[in-house]
């Protein structure tokens, strides 16, 4: 156990986390240059494109230090977004130390700071590493100064490296062995292992990734998942070395996987404690929490014929995403579909992208919403997460909506702009603190519904990327809610309805009408778009019709081109949803809850 080190890498997007991880993997001899598919740890397309890690992953790196000692380094890769903050906290809880990676050309940035605080909360040993020193624009002195002043860390211990060139990487690995303490905990105590990730494998079922804090575990053991109370027989244990590497035993201090005939990831919980059924731990590891969806949206197949295929895809998708919840739903405009619950908007977007790319589904998503509580005159309380089921206003006694406490961390010069943003989103009870000079932490109590669309995007653009944001759910508070309906060519499109605060209704209605005007193509007739509260129209826009659509000449050489264009247009049309006689593209349904580029 003295030769084990468990660590993670904290970095802002693009500061070279994946490149450094790749170097470690290479140094450990797990893969050579050619077998590298770009950056190995971020292996979902979407992760690579967005430069973020969505799932926690780990890799076990054998390493011989410059002093000739043999080590096993466990690198635990953590997700980098507020939607997955619980997963991050469990991954951090599995480490003893963290590398704080800073790009020498960019310096310290917002996300670095937020992640650093999270790491500090878990009492991790922090090793600052200054990366990209090979670049001409690298400013090492300034970066050191920022580490010292902005982060309050001792910059004299900061290491210099270029993950891209490979310089300084050995020193970083040596520092991990020298500065990060080995794990504690005894292999002789009852088993306590923390689940920080689970993913689904077609052949083996759910593969649980965990950190063993006490005791040991081997194939044949009967394990108990303490929060769920379920038991499973262990088929295999081992560590990840890019592929699974089976071991006879996993014992205290180690990070590895368990295969135990667990059918789906839903049968496990991130943060749960694994113990042995025969000799259970007296109490589980601290910090377990059931993660609940906070954002809800319905999905429908673009073509109603594809409902079956969508249902199959959802089943498969769910095998690997325990946080997703869903149930059947149906809309007058869009037919059969599913009502889904997500951890946040990023979770929702990832779901949508993966469903389209990996499962080849063309889907329409409705405006995301939160869960409202509606108290009826009869005294009954409804939980409404779908505008379709919003009751008749005459029956409503009062409405409540969920509030959150946001923590926003920014350089102090953006304070005015961020205050304005929060107040415009109905923020109340602000509080301020100054964690480090030049930085300010703003806390606000806000309705959750105000942050789920575009708040994070707005915050980032307002602070030029320096703002970081996190929140906790507080409670339900009384609110003045209305249901906004959207009519396209006189027909109500139920899938575009939203529940909104009365004061924000007009603004949202105008936004939706404008966006639909941009997204819905011209037709041969005029298409009016209206936003309505009950029978009152509060916003409108009009799509003017085609006046003419014909090319003057169509002779021998033009026919093929013309047909190809038609084929393309027909394909596009198939991806649209017919509402009455109006074709609405998929993108329109998404656009209504996205921030306008020009509004940013």
């Amino acid at each position: 156990m003295t030769q084990i080190r468990n660590f993670c890498i904290i970095a802002h997007i693009d500061h070279g986390k994946s490149t450094l991880a790749d170097r470690f993997i290479q140094k450990a001899g797990l893969a050579d240059e050619r077998t590298f598919r770009d950056q190995i740890l971020d292996n979902m397309d979407i992760e690579r494109e967005r430069g973020i890690t969505i799932k926690s992953q780990s890799v076990n790196l054998p390493y011989r230090s410059s002093k000739g000692e043999e080590f096993e380094l466990n690198l635990i890769d953590t997700p980098g977004h507020v939607d997955f903050s619980y997963e991050v906290s469990r991954a951090l809880a599995s480490c003893e130390g963290a590398l704080l990676l800073v790009d020498a050309t960019q310096g310290v940035e917002a996300q670095t700071l937020a992640n650093l605080y999270a790491a500090m909360e878990h009492n991790l040993t922090i090793i600052p590493v200054i990366n990209k020193i090979d670049l001409a624009s690298a400013d090492i002195d300034r970066t050191r100064e920022q580490i010292e002043i902005d982060l309050g860390l001792d910059s004299s211990s900061a290491l210099l490296c270029s993950a891209k060139e490979g310089t300084g990487v050995d020193a970083v690995m040596d520092a991990i062995t020298e500065m990060i303490p080995p794990p504690s905990g005894s292999p002789d105590e009852p088993l306590k292992a923390l689940i920080f990730d689970a993913h689904y494998d077609n052949f083996r079922g759910t593969i649980v990734t965990c950190r063993v804090f006490a005791g040991k575990l081997k194939a044949g053991d009967i394990i108990k998942l303490m929060a769920l109370g379920t038991t499973h027989k262990v088929e295999e244990v081992g560590v990840f070395r890019l592929k699974r590497d089976a071991r006879a035993v996993l014992s205290a201090g180690e990070v590895g996987y368990i295969i135990a005939g667990i059918k789906t990831v839903k049968d496990t919980r991130i943060g749960d404690t694994v113990t042995l059924a025969s000799n259970p731990a007296p109490e589980p590891l601290p910090g377990f929490m059931e993660v609940k969806p906070v954002v809800f949206s319905s999905i429908y197949p673009v073509s109603s014929d594809d409902y079956r295929s969508l249902a199959d895809a959802m089943e498969k998708y769910q095998l690997n995403d325990a946080a997703l919840t869903f149930q059947k739903d149906s809309s007058a405009a869009l037919g059969l579909g599913f009502r889904c619950g997500f951890l946040g908007l990023l979770h929702l977007e990832i779901f949508q992208e993966r469903l389209e790319r990996e499962f080849d589904q063309s889907i329409i998503m409705t405006v995301p919403t939160v869960m409202y509580k509606i108290v009826l005159n009869s005294g009954e309380t409804l939980h409404v997460d779908n505008p379709l089921y919003y009751p008749d206003p005459v029956n409503i006694k009062e409405s409540l909506e969920p509030f959150i406490r946001t923590r926003i961390l920014i350089p102090d010069k953006y304070m005015g702009a961020v205050m304005e943003l929060c107040l415009s989103r109905r923020g109340v009870n602000s509080r301020f603190s100054y964690p480090t000079p030049g930085r300010i932490e703003i806390q606000f109590e806000m309705p959750l519904s105000e942050v789920i669309y575009d708040f994070y995007d707005r915050l980032k653009s307002t602070t030029q990327g320096y703002g970081s944001f996190d929140y906790d759910i507080l409670d339900y508070r009384k609110s003045d809610l209305v249901k906004l309906d959207i009519l396209v060519n006189g027909e109500k499109v139920d899938a575009l309805s939203q529940i909104v605060h009365k004061d924000r209704a007009r603004e949202r209605a105008v936004h939706v009408c404008d966006r639909l005007k941009d997204e819905i193509p011209r037709h041969l007739f005029k298409v009016p778009i209206q936003g309505a509260l009950g029978g009152t129209i509060i916003a409108r826009s009009t799509i003017s019709p085609f006046r003419k659509d014909v090319t003057a000449k169509c002779y021998g050489g033009d026919i093929t081109r013309k047909r190809k264009l038609l084929e393309k247009q027909k394909k596009g049309k198939k991806k649209m949803k017919m509402i009455g006689s109006v074709s609405i593209p998929q993108s329109a349904f998404v656009a209504v809850f996205k921030t306008d580029e020009k509004e940013k």
Partner: protein, 367 residues
């Protein structure tokens, strides 16, 4: 047959042509070779040709002896029907008494004069070298030489001129009693001088609304004068004066294209020649057909083309068993209700208003 030579490139034209006439002899040799080679590939069952069309480019700039050589070569290699429409496109400046007499003698039955406009403002805007009087003279000279089917090509929508200017332009054209008039809405195309100017915002173009008005006013005027508006941009004084050649495209009948960048169609396949004169000549000089590409059309593609082409012509298309599976009846009903098409005796045809949406209608009425 594509004759890819012009004296100069017009600023609005996107057809392939070159102004280097030194290549003409080489092109002619290659063309004759192509004619001979193609004739060997024609199936036994191929009926006699009933239309020969020399398009361009500017075929009229070819010397009489070259034109004669081409026709002779065609006649010796292919079976040509007795009443074969033999047409040529002509620049007004090329039509001298001598040329007109030659065309008649060589057997040309139809001459299309590229007048473009009789309004000097429009002619100069279009960068043409001729004047209105040259076009008038050309028509008269052709008439005197005994050419019985004379066509005029006109362009409208230039310079934001009002409907009244377009109607007087048409009136001028009609006074010459041409058998055929093509009215093309000025289209700014990529890869042309106008395209470049327009992308820099330096070309005055008409709005869709203005083009629509010009189109409808022009159609009404010519129909009042007795012309049949038989295709989006084409009018004929009588059924027999319609362009037999162009109707083949719109009715999806087979045709053989010769010359650089020419397209051919045999009912199921379409193929096209190398685009440049040089590439075209090199292939033939090496003993190969100058084939650039070919497509085999699926049933759906054929049906889609049939529908798209049918919606450009007054006679429309027939809802037969080949077409029917691809038709969306709801779409048809909606277009009928909007007065953009008519449907009688299982024939769907565009109305004059429907011509304005000929590119849109196929999307609306197909599945």
């Amino acid at each position: 047959m594509h004759v890819p030579f012009c004296r100069g490139k017009c600023p609005y034209c996107a057809f392939y042509s070159i102004s280097s006439c030194s290549l003409i002899p080489r092109w002619l040799a290659a063309l004759k070779r192509e004619i001979k080679m193609s004739s060997r590939f024609l199936p036994e069952t191929c009926p006699a040709f009933d239309s020969i069309h020399l398009g361009g480019g500017t075929p009229s700039l070819l010397a009489g002896e070259y034109l004669a050589e081409i026709l002779d070569c065609l006649r010796s290699c292919f079976r040509i029907g007795d009443n074969c429409e033999t047409a040529i496109e002509a620049d007004p400046l090329d039509i001298t008494d001598e040329k007109a007499a030659f065309l008649k003698a060589a057997g040309f039955t139809r001459v299309v004069v590229g007048a473009q406009s009789f309004d000097e403002r429009v002619i100069s805007f279009l960068g043409r070298r001729h004047r209105a009087k040259d076009s008038i003279a050309a028509v008269n000279v052709l008439r005197d030489a005994g050419i019985e089917n004379i066509g005029l090509d006109l362009i409208y929508g230039a310079e934001g001129l009002p409907v009244s200017a377009w109607i007087s332009d048409l009136d001028e054209a009609v006074s010459l009693s041409p058998e055929h008039i093509s009215c093309y809405c000025l289209t700014v195309e990529d890869g042309t001088v106008f395209g470049r100017l327009a992308s820099k915002g330096r070309l005055k173009v008409s709005s869709a609304e203005a083009e629509r008005e010009l189109f409808l006013a022009g159609s009404r005027f010519l129909r009042d004068k007795g012309y049949i508006h038989y295709e989006v941009s084409n009018f004929a004084s009588a059924e027999r004066h319609m362009s037999g050649h162009n109707l083949k495209y719109w009715r999806r009948e087979p045709y053989l294209g010769l010359g650089p960048s020419a397209h051919s169609f045999d009912g199921g396949r379409r193929w096209w020649n190398k685009r440049t004169v040089r590439g075209y000549c090199e292939s033939l000089e090496a003993g190969d057909l100058p084939l650039q590409g070919m497509e085999h059309l699926t049933e759906e593609q054929s049906a889609l083309e049939m529908i798209a082409m049918g919606l450009r012509i007054r006679v429309g298309f027939k809802l037969d068993e080949v077409i029917l599976p691809w038709i969306d009846q709801q779409g048809v009903d909606a277009m009928l209700a909007q007065g953009l098409i008519s449907c009688a005796g299982r024939i769907i045809a565009p109305t004059v208003e429907g011509y304005l949406f000929a590119d849109r209608l196929p999307l609306e009425i197909t599945k």
